[in-house]
């Protein structure tokens, strides 16, 4: 375990070396959030609520789900795995006394941890300012529709952890496709775009047409950000939470098994030349 903690620490230190890059990226992310909010403002311009959302609660939704999406991001794990396989760098990893999968995981976690407080503060401040900019009514209403408690926060954190693991497993699995295809970057591209739409990042899933919702109920997209938000805001009861946790656990197990099978059946084909 200590070797992974060392890797995590190294990665944390490396990520802090480019502070200005982080702040510019966060500012850009907030700017793109504002574009989404301007769009929602235009949709709400006719007045009234849309389904259960007021404009103020939509602002909170957009900020929370986008922050979670940033948290569960895996820093291009697919591309990194793919590059290691294609360039032969994986050969070096195979000589090391710790698995490639866990080393990359430690690296991703390590690069995220030091940025976590700044991300939460900047996104939280931007959300507050945006609500404040729309008047005290919006500010008061932004949180009043939600029933946030210590239990809901705890349940939310469990789901965010599961979402991160799921995202990492899926990205790692997609990277392993490089054992069979020369340059599968298109798969990474499709995954990122399909996920962004169907996880509820731009539009809450309950505003999708009912036939799309029925399909999405059977898929794990909702667990990325939409369901964690429902959990955080107290819109789910314990039995429903446990049911979804078990379902998500099954998706995670399936992804882990697939990753293991693909790794075991492909590693024998791997050849790296040169020094």
């Amino acid at each position: 375990m200590s070797k992974y903690l060392k890797a995590l620490k190294l990665s944390s230190q490396a990520s802090l070396a480019y502070n200005w890059n982080f702040f510019i990226s966060t500012l850009i992310q907030i700017l793109s959030l504002l574009i989404t909010l301007f769009m929602w403002k235009a949709v709400f311009a006719a007045g009234g609520d849309i389904a259960d959302y007021s404009y103020a609660s939509m602002i909170v939704y957009i900020f929370v789900v986008n922050t979670v999406f940033e948290l569960i991001g895996t820093n291009n794990t697919s591309a990194r795995v793919s590059n290691d396989i294609r360039s032969g760098a994986l050969g070096v990893w195979l000589l090391r006394p710790f698995p490639h999968f866990f080393s990359l995981l430690a690296d991703v976690v390590g690069s995220k941890l030091p940025r976590l407080p700044a991300l939460l503060v900047m996104n939280g401040a931007a959300c507050f300012l945006f609500l404040y900019g729309h008047g005290a009514g919006a500010l008061a209403e932004g949180g009043s529709r939600f029933d946030i408690s210590a239990a809901s926060v705890l349940m939310f954190l469990v789901f965010v952890l599961f979402s991160f693991l799921w995202n990492y497993l899926l990205d790692y699995l997609l990277g392993l496709v490089s054992f069979r295809a020369d340059n599968p970057w298109i798969l990474f591209y499709i995954k990122s775009h399909v996920t962004a739409v169907f996880c509820g990042l731009i539009i809450p899933l309950d505003l999708f047409p009912s036939w799309v919702r029925r399909i999405l109920d059977w898929l794990p997209f909702k667990y990325y950000v939409y369901y964690p938000f429902q959990v955080l805001t107290g819109q789910t009861a314990w039995p429903e939470f446990l049911f979804n946790l078990v379902c998500f656990g099954m998706w995670l197990t399936a992804a882990a098994l697939c990753t293991l099978v693909v790794w075991r059946t492909s590693i024998g084909r791997f050849a790296a030349a040169g020094g």
Binding site: I24, S32, I35, F38, M39, K41, V43, Y189, H193
Partner: protein
């Protein structure tokens, strides 16, 4: 000029041959372009199930704007973005020396040596989306609007390219321009929405300071008759921005020092 057009098409041919080696990727290019565009159209369609209009823009007017943007974006994502990513690496490693030594304009070579042949698919998808939107809108447009619409799209592409040149040139000072890709993806988000949804100050900034408004909003709004004579500005802003981007490139590239051995 002819020489540069010939070189561009030769480069396109070599890139086509190169990319066809990766059959898996090549065959997936069309579906990928469809996924990307359908994603945007789907979002628009879902939003319009909850609103009749968005600040005066109806559902298919919004789709027309998206199609116009897809046409301009095919140039950006297929030609400029991959080369922008290469630029800082070439400066850092000194590989830019090889570009400078070639008997051709360095800026042209730097920004066109890599061409993603998905350009053809992306452009076609954009044209199809515009055609579908126009079919639904059933506009009775005078004939003179069509060539002007196309000219405004070309201006939009040149405006976008100029902004890429200006931000790309910063690589000569900062070396790392990792954030440039994210900046342009945010620019793209601005361009994919009707500018009427933005507050007045933001709208003015996006028309006159960072003239993203001329990329897709002005061409689409012109075709739909939603703007007065603002479109005339496109013919002033575009050459000005091109001239400025050329000055910035020449100014900043002068500080480049070869690093190769």
């Amino acid at each position: 000029m002819n020489r540069y057009v010939r070189i561009f098409f030769k480069s396109l041919k070599f890139n086509l041959v190169n990319q066809m080696q990766y059959k898996f990727n090549f065959l997936l290019m069309l579906p990928v372009n469809l996924v990307w565009t359908m994603e945007e159209v789907l979002i628009a369609l879902i939003l319009f199930t909850h609103a009749d209009t968005m600040m005066g823009w109806s559902q298919y007017e919004f789709v027309l704007l998206l199609g116009t943007y897809f046409i301009v974006d095919s140039l950006f994502t297929s030609v400029l973005l991959p080369n922008l990513a290469d630029l800082s690496e070439n400066i850092r490693t000194g590989k830019l020396d090889f570009y400078i030594l070639k008997p051709i304009d360095t800026q042209f070579l730097v920004f066109t040596h890599r061409i993603d042949v998905g350009l053809v698919f992306a452009f076609t998808v954009g044209v199809v989306v515009v055609a579908i939107a126009l079919l639904h809108l059933q506009l009775q447009l005078p004939a003179w609007k069509w060539p002007l619409f196309m000219l405004l799209i070309i201006n939009g592409a040149l405006c976008f390219a100029s902004l890429v040149f200006i931000i790309g040139s910063l690589a000569f000072k900062t070396v790392k321009v990792d954030f440039a890709g994210s900046i342009f993806l945010t620019f793209a988000q601005f361009c994919k929405k009707p500018f009427d949804i933005y507050p007045a100050l933001v709208r003015k900034l996006l028309l006159y300071l960072v003239p993203l408004g001329f990329v897709s909003y002005v061409p689409a709004a012109f075709l739909l008759g939603k703007i007065g004579f603002l479109w005339l500005w496109s013919f002033v802003v575009t050459p000005l921005l091109l001239w400025l981007s050329r000055r910035v490139w020449n100014g900043l590239s002068a500080s480049y020092e070869g690093a190769s051995s």
